[in-house]
């Protein structure tokens, strides 16, 4: 947040034209590559001070955070009108394909004619829209599924807290649990090979399916690679405990 404040200060102080230019801060609610949660109250405070608009991508927080699953704004108690544009992918909590974008009437109507991905692309297949509607209805009627998810995350984090040489580096709220080596083995390629070995042993011997982080050649992301586990409200306690035991066993064997 210090870096954000400095950047905003620098941009608005030297630029007299800054008043007339449309400016946006673009953040993700839960970062897919690191599992960290954005501090929304800080961002809103900065946005109001420097007069920027906020674009928030809630792909991994929609249906996960907040007492009724409405996302990051509910979790932090920030009135949703303060966020100008909220976008989300429906492939995560809602288990369909596609995405949506919400905002004020003016912003959304403007996009119906000017957004390239909306105007020049074919629309969503109707059965996916129906699936999304049913998912949202289910979430409204059964908010207890959020509590189940939170318990599962907590249980997994406790179970993984004593794995040999690996530590959990994502936020306690995040359903994407990242495991990284406490000390790197030298280079990124060696780390990645080690993670691959752990993941494939757990898969072949204990039937536990996890994935490692991937980067493409075009990526400019400098976050460390790790093993990713995705927690679901559909997992039972025995499933979570089995995953923890398997990881402990395989990590001890590989990293000994």
């Amino acid at each position: 947040m210090v870096s954000l404040e400095n950047t905003l200060e620098e941009l608005t102080r030297t630029n007299k034209r800054a008043e007339k230019v449309r400016r946006y801060i673009v953040v993700e609610g839960l970062y897919q590559n690191s599992g960290q949660v954005a501090p929304l109250n800080e961002i809103v405070r900065l946005k109001e001070k420097y007069r920027f608009r906020v674009v928030l991508d809630e792909s991994h927080t929609f249906g996960v955070l907040g007492s009724s699953g409405r996302g990051l704004t509910e979790y932090y108690g920030v009135p949703v009108e303060k966020i100008d544009i909220i976008t989300a992918a429906m492939g995560n909590a809602l288990a369909t394909d596609g995405g949506f974008c919400t905002g004020s009437v003016r912003v959304v109507d403007h996009q119906r004619l000017s957004s390239a991905g909306y105007v020049f692309s074919a629309s969503l297949p109707p059965y996916l829209a129906t699936a999304a509607i049913s998912a949202v209805d289910y979430l409204e009627e059964n908010p207890s599924v959020l509590a189940t998810l939170r318990n599962n995350i907590a249980l997994l984090r406790i179970g993984l807290s004593d794995v040999a040489e690996l530590e959990v580096s994502s936020s306690p709220l995040s359903p994407i649990v990242f495991l990284n080596l406490k000390k790197s083995k030298g280079s990124q390629e060696e780390d990645l090979q080690l993670y691959d070995k752990i993941v494939s042993r757990a898969f072949h011997e204990d039937s536990v399916f996890m994935v490692t982080s991937r980067r493409t050649a075009l990526d400019k992301c400098r976050l460390p690679l790790g093993i990713r586990l995705f927690v679901s409200a559909g997992h039972s306690e025995t499933d979570i405990l089995k995953a923890c035991d398997s990881l402990k066993r395989v990590a001890a064997l590989e990293l000994a």
């Binding site: 008043e19 007339k20 230019v21 449309r22 400016r23 897919q32 007069r51 608009r53 992918a89 429906m90 492939g91 995560n92 288990a95 369909t96 394909d97 003016r106 912003v107 403007h110 119906r112 004619l113 000017s114 390239a116 991905g117 105007v119 020049f120 692309s121 074919a122 969503l124 297949p125 059965y127 996916l128 699936a131 399916f209 994935v211 991937r214 493409t216 050649a217 075009l218 990526d219 990713r228």
Partner: protein
């Protein structure tokens, strides 16, 4: 080439000028009223730059909103040859539209349903429902994580075999296929030469890749040669080093013109100057060619000469998503570098099954000849319809065999007149204006389907003739001999 009569050009410009003047007057009155009001109002959004400045959304506010009821019409059934259109009403002169619960059954000339797979099909639909029960609507995962099912692998092989290329890769969204693949194929230091009427997804992808983009005149192999010669001689901007890579991007059928690409000439030019070719067959795959294999088959071009072939499943196969077919090395490279493969949710399994079943019907693997009959039907329908429209005096664009037929309207006032009159006669058409087409060349785009029967087409022609006389778009009447 589009013929634009002199008088029509003048009247169209006059129409736009009048609309512009009216819009400015209304804007001015709004400005005066706002000045008076803002003295009493406490502005909540003080200090924030406005979302749209000045004239940026002038077109939306003053022109588009007047005829808003002709666009974005909600439908209430599958987009088969007959479609249910939801009726809407407005209480404030089209600023907001409200849906009613009534629908009217209209003849559908606006959907890309070239082979008739949009409605329930006896081979495809039971298999799709089964895969929905087995795999659920989404894989909830990127392709590299847990999103590759048996169906995805089968589809990639089937697409490669259908298009006659060694390998293929599929994506969940057709637009994203172009805009995410082009940056993976070429970067800074490369040159992209693209047709002037290429689709927005290609333009977006080219811009996002960082390569230099040059445009050549639509379908002109001579101008392409000129551009290539000049660019190869000059080299990269400022350093004048040779280009790392040159890719020429063309489309199979251009959706706003209905024209086929002059592929043999363009391929000759590319081979002569050692440039790669990228063919976007969004509208032509499955719809043209003797066995539905697209523009290469129709024009007799060997698929080994086209380096990368792209297509979508939305038009002829009744599904969603896109594919790229190329050599094994290119596909392997894409699987290791394309962000859409790594981070985007993979294609929905029932959609994958729909494409697999549709391709099997087209090539005849379902055990019947429905595929061949559909292909013959769409060709016959397109040629019959185009000939009749031409005979009635409309200005129709497009080549023979192409199922896309734009009818020129030119004048902005004729767009809502044509659209609303057709809807009154229960004919659903799609009208296109600026900015999707040049300012003076507004048109109504007709898309035929293999499921249209002869009676449907004769009925459509009657309605179009009546409406055409009423609206005055029969610009080139054929003189009786």
């Amino acid at each position: 080439m589009v013929r634009l009569p002199y008088l029509t050009a003048l009247t169209t410009l006059f129409s736009y000028g009048l609309l512009f003047a009216f819009g400015q007057v209304r804007d001015f009155i709004r400005y005066i009223l706002d000045l008076r009001k803002s003295k009493n109002l406490q502005c909540l959004v003080q200090g924030y730059a406005p979302i749209c400045l000045g004239l940026e959304d002038f077109y939306t506010r003053r022109l588009y909103l007047r005829i808003q009821d002709c666009f974005n019409r909600p439908i209430a059934s599958a987009p088969d040859s007959w479609i249910d259109v939801v009726e809407r009403y407005s209480k404030d002169h089209n600023k907001t539209l409200h849906r009613t619960s009534k629908t009217s059954k209209c003849l559908n000339l606006g959907s890309y349903n070239y082979l008739g797979f949009a409605a329930a099909d006896e081979f495809c639909t039971p298999r799709v429902i089964e895969s929905l029960k087995e795999y659920s609507p989404s894989t909830c995962s990127a392709r590299v994580d847990g999103g590759t099912t048996k169906l995805h692998a089968e589809l990639e092989e089937l697409v490669a075999q259908f298009v006659r290329k060694p390998a293929a890769i599929v994506f969940g969204m057709g637009y994203a296929t172009n805009s995410a693949i082009i940056p993976s194929l070429i970067g800074k230091g490369g040159l992209i030469v693209s047709d002037s009427l290429n689709h927005n997804s290609i333009v977006n992808g080219s811009r996002g890749s960082g390569a230099t983009v040059q445009v050549f005149q639509h379908n002109s192999a001579a101008h392409l040669e000129e551009v290539l010669r000049e660019q190869i001689a000059e080299g990269q901007p400022r350093t004048h080093r040779p280009w790392k890579k040159i890719i020429v991007i063309v489309e199979g059928i251009y959706s706003m013109e209905g024209e086929l690409c002059k592929l043999p000439d363009i391929i000759d030019v590319c081979k002569k100057y050692k440039a790669y070719t990228y063919l976007d067959e969004a509208h032509s795959i499955g719809a043209i060619g003797r066995s539905g294999r697209g523009v290469c088959e129709l024009l007799g071009v060997d698929t080994a000469d086209v380096d990368i072939m792209m297509g979508t499943f939305t038009k002829s196969f009744g599904s969603c998503g896109g594919y790229i077919a190329a050599s094994k090395e290119i596909i392997q490279h894409l699987k290791n570098t394309c962000p859409a493969h790594f981070y985007a949710t993979s294609m929905s399994p029932p959609s994958v099954q729909q494409v697999i079943s549709a391709i099997k019907v087209v090539i005849g693997e379902d055990g019947s000849d429905r595929g061949a009959r559909k292909l013959a039907q769409i060709r016959e329908n397109s040629n019959f319809f185009r000939f009749e429209l031409h005979r009635m005096g409309f200005e129709v664009l497009g080549d023979d065999d192409s199922p896309v037929m734009p009818i020129m309207l030119y004048n902005p006032a004729k767009i809502p007149a044509f659209s609303r009159e057709c809807l009154r006669h229960n004919l659903a058409v799609v009208t296109v204006a600026f900015p999707a087409t040049p300012l003076l060349l507004a048109r109504a785009r007709i898309c035929l389907s293999a499921s249209h029967t002869r009676e449907d087409m004769i009925r459509a022609l009657d309605v179009l003739s009546t409406v055409g006389d009423l609206v005055g778009i029969k610009y080139f009447p054929i003189e009786p001999q």
